[in-house]
Amino acid sequence: MPVDGLLSVTWLVIVLPLAGAALLLLGGRRTDRWGHLLATGTVVAAFALAVACTVALTDRAGRAVSLDLFTFIDTGSLDVTAGLLLDPLSAVFVLLITGVGALIHVYSIGYMAHDPGRRRFFAYLNLFVAAMLLLVLGNSYVALYVGWEGVGLASYLLIAFWHTRPAAATAAKKAFLMNRVGDVGLALAIFIMFAQLGTTSYAGVFGAVGLLAGGTVTAIGLLLLLGACGKSGQFPLQAWLPDAMEGPTPVSALIHAATMVTAGVYLIARSAPLYDATPTARTVVLAVGAVTLLIGAIAGCAHDDIKKVLAYSTVSQIGYMFLAVGLGPVGYAAAIAHLLAHGFFKAGLFLGAGSVMHAMDDTVDMRRFGGLARRLPITFVTFGLGYLALIGFPFLSGWWTKDAIIEVALDRGGWSGWLLGGVAVLGAGLTAFYMTRLMLMTFFGRPRWEDGVHPHEAPPSMTAPMVLLAVGSVAAGFLLVAVFPLSGWLEPVFGEPEEAAHLVSPLVVSIVVTVVVALGALTAWLYVGRREVPTTAPARVSPVVTAARRGLYADTVNESLVMRPGMWLTRALVWLDARGVDGAVNGAAAALGGGSARLGRVQTGFVRSYALGILGGAVLVAGALLAVTA
């Protein structure tokens, strides 16, 4: 079926923000005054176009459009065509990216109003949106990889946006390096596809999965998972994400909560036919998700930096999504639904945190907050709705989507089902604990503000996106699960949703989860709501709290296992280069120079010693001749 009409210009969705970024970066200071408006306009236009394309998509057979744009690489057996694939899965991502992206652009107009680098900020933000759209719209792994690296670059640039702050520069470097570790996995997976199949297009690869040896498929699956772990901040590569909060808060909301970090979930969901063929890799995905959701939740409980708590919460929530995609076909729709709902409420929470920081002179220490509910009413209400959605308050987004994941985990059956379900329920309780702690420390209790701080509500350009995202946080889950079931919309990608026979009835699951969540919230109230919160973190704490404060020693492990040996290796190589290679070259030169100087001493200038030399030589030659002929 030929592609015509609106869908044939799907590429415009990517090109619009890309053009905005190019114009702002190349236009220089001339665009300073209106650049941010242009950047916001391109993303809003992209969102409008994405909505129109998605509507047009619903009428098409198979609900998928594949557009071949141009030949990217063509050398003999290697033939890569740059093309786009708009199907239900990429469509929901495009809507999320452009929708949340547009709101965050609007928010940034207020948040970055007085920043001298505003134009640069919006240019990078546009670049990010373009790269992220390419990532989800590409119809081959190579196109995905280009977008993948693009978002990595944009993330690096934006974390280090305030590059004069050493902490921001270091965090950006850390994020970039840890992402590279994951990207190596993704690149190797693509190389294996080239070598074994000669193609990297989704259609080509998924069509030929059956021809591959089991070990090869498992290798591809594990390498893709490594890439996904790097990008999504999953165990063992989770340590960069909390540090990435050094960037401006809108960046944390858009890139490090709603969109980029969910690229790993997209990658695994997109590669569903691959993972269908390799239960081993799928089990590893499951384990990674379960471990990460606990690590994130535990570490989130002990931090006092409001953005770091939210970052660990992101790590933990993406762990839920990995858990869901690791469960196989039954979990894909649940994972994507949670991803979308998470995109709404987590972006809203980050924007709320940005509003709090805006009011508190950029303080992030929750111990110096308190009692902000009355001063920041809009922020309080929107943040509160996001909070309720995240912990899974009944009938808000998180309740619909997280419970679905827990149900699917329990339906797995056997000891692993109970274990995974138990981990997920425990994670929900911990989530309730750390989020309630954050809420109580920020908005309730006695003010513990630093001197000279006068909290004030943010301007409308900041509050409006927060309100919209709060509406999304409330309604998204209900709409995605109950009204327009996402599993039905995604059916062309993941196959018909099967109504599994529930081992535990959803009602029981819901009640249990709600009770655990309530217990978590109650515990938090006992700790920080009922008692006065000290303005400095207590030093004498149990080893568990120390471990959680240090992110369960992820940095320590990375440093001792990777960084230090790496530094030793470089030092050894530098030594080998200076002493070994340079030493050999310099030594040879010195030996020749010294030897010739010493040999030169033979030339004394005395004729008679030369004559003796000649005579001696002649005698030697004569003697040798005699010896040979005799």
């Binding site: 004394t604 200038g605 004729v607 008679r608 004559a611």
Partner: protein, 99 residues
């Protein structure tokens, strides 16, 4: 008459010349010792030419004489000019060309 006598005489002359070159300092004497060595070689050449009845040895001896004459001319000229500049005919005083 055997050739041994001639050859022994040539060897004695060559040895005297060689020792003279090595031990004497006066440039003129060194020069004369070189002539002595050349002539001892000439004697050897002629001896062998005579004993084998061929002419090549005699031809080469003539060549040696021509070369020796040319060499004497150049050598004496050098010794003269060195003597004029340095007021000495000792070969050990002329040692500037070295490392």
């Amino acid at each position: 008459m055997t050739i041994t006598n001639y050859l022994v005489l040539a060897a004695i002359l060559f040895t005297i010349g060689a020792v003279g070159v090595l031990v004497r300092r006066n440039a003129i004497v060194v020069f004369m010792c070189i002539e002595l060595m050349l002539n001892s070689v000439n004697l050897t050449l002629i001896t062998f030419a005579r004993s084998t009845g061929t002419v090549e040895g005699q031809v080469i001896a003539l060549f040696v004489m021509v070369v020796a004459a040319a060499e004497v001319v150049v050598g004496l000229a050098i010794i003269m000019s060195i003597y004029r500049t340095r007021r000495s005919a000792s070969v050990d005083d002329v040692n500037l060309l070295k490392y």
